[in-house]
Amino acid sequence: MNAFTYIACSTLDRALEALDAPDGGRVLAGGTDLLLELRRPGRPAPSRIVDIGPIRGLRGITIRNGEIHIGPLTTHADMASSEILATHSRLLSTAAAAIGSPQIRNRGTIGGNIMNAAACADTVPPLCALEARLTLASSRGTRQFPITQFFKEPYATFARPDEVLTQISFPLPPPTERGAFIKLGRRNAVSISRLSVAAIIALDPAGVITRAVIVPGAAFPAWQRVEEAEASLLGRKAGTALFAAAGRIVAETMVRQTGRRWSTEYKEPVLAVLVRRALEACCAPGTAKGQER
């Protein structure tokens, strides 16, 4: 690990000032990604690390004006135990609870999960499904992104190096909507998503689907809703055969976008299955398991 300047910031203004420098800097939140990166041999080391951990007001989950707001320093453990998320967007707290181990969930933050932008970042598919909006700040002002327009490809976002993520917001989901998050890993903890699916379904009293959202994780070059599959569900009665067909559309879409790769033989059939299961879990929330075991 090379030498760098460490700047602990107790206010956002101080952090933005520290990042507004020609030699740039890297933002440190929980450190569960950044510290590994710093230790990796042969990587150009950042000259300064700007620690936003001490900033007050960037951590916590609140409801204001019909929206849920999450501070970027909110840890995965905070989200996993949040009453607000458990009540209104359980797919997000389920995803947070499926990350790593207790130690990692106590350190790692939702902001870090988004900004690091690994394809297997477990909180991102639910946030895309919830139509989250990201607020970024720099010394030049703030700007907002719909989360699905924030990622270029794995590990690359449209954030500038001088920007700090300051808020994650999404509309309070109506009570008629049911969400689910399903993750497939190789073991039961400290497990990297091989594939995941976030889904939201709204049914009318007759059991007809009025809204459908499907966002796979670790499948596409950048997270996206699979609109063709979503459209195939609208106006139809919820059921296993319908959900299986939607799953096949998602898998076909993945293959069309990524091409046939070494992992496609496995991922193509399994993604279709996970989509079907996520949609089924939406319709049976009492029995929905958050994680494939």
């Binding site: 790692g108 590990y155 990297i192 091989r194 596409f220 496995y266 299955v273 996970l274």
Partner: protein, 171 residues
């Protein structure tokens, strides 16, 4: 020395995900000198054998190991190891110290075969190469990728696979 292991597994036939849900381990240890120590060998042996059977993949390409870190070389966590019902059979051996035989190696050796036999019992498919990964159980064969792996792969490979193998979100 004689021993037997019995594994009960759940196999998700749509994803290949295999979980060991119950386990019986029986060994003739000769005279058990320290009962707690003997049981520790039973439990540790099963946990290690479960890793051998389901998770621990070690490949060498041109003399270079492909798995370079514990992000790729997966060992079982506490949540992956089931209850182990240990049955000690005491059959003292006059040639052994205080009548003891052994329990280090045997405790480990039988677990992986028991697990893959249980997979066969559940699915009718024979796993002939370890570990019984998602791909081997679902497809009947492993999938191999080319190029650098583990911590070196981030910049070198396809971005989806690379970022997921590194798994920063999980650390």
């Amino acid at each position: 020395v004689y021993g037997a292991n019995i594994a009960e597994v759940d196999v998700d036939t749509e994803t290949g995900r295999t979980s060991v849900v119950d386990f019986v381990s029986v060994h003739d240890v000769g005279q058990a000198i320290n009962r707690g120590g003997v049981l520790g060998q039973f439990y540790g042996g099963v946990a290690m054998g479960l890793g051998y059977g389901l998770l621990e993949d070690f490949e060498i390409e041109d003399g270079i190991p492909k798995q370079l870190n514990f992000d790729e070389y997966l060992i079982p966590t506490a949540l992956d190891v089931p209850r182990v019902r240990a049955i000690i059979v005491e059959n003292p051996d006059p040639a052994g110290p205080y009548g003891a035989k052994c329990i280090g190696e045997p405790a480990n050796e039988l677990a992986a075969p028991a697990i893959v036999n249980a997979i066969f019992n559940a699915t009718g498919k024979r796993i002939t190469e370890l570990p019984a990964t998602l791909e081997r159980v679902l497809l009947g064969h492993a999938l191999s990728r080319q190029g650098l792996r583990g911590s070196l792969r981030k910049e070198q490979e396809h971005p989806i696979e690379a970022s997921c193998k590194l798994g920063p979100a999980q650390r």
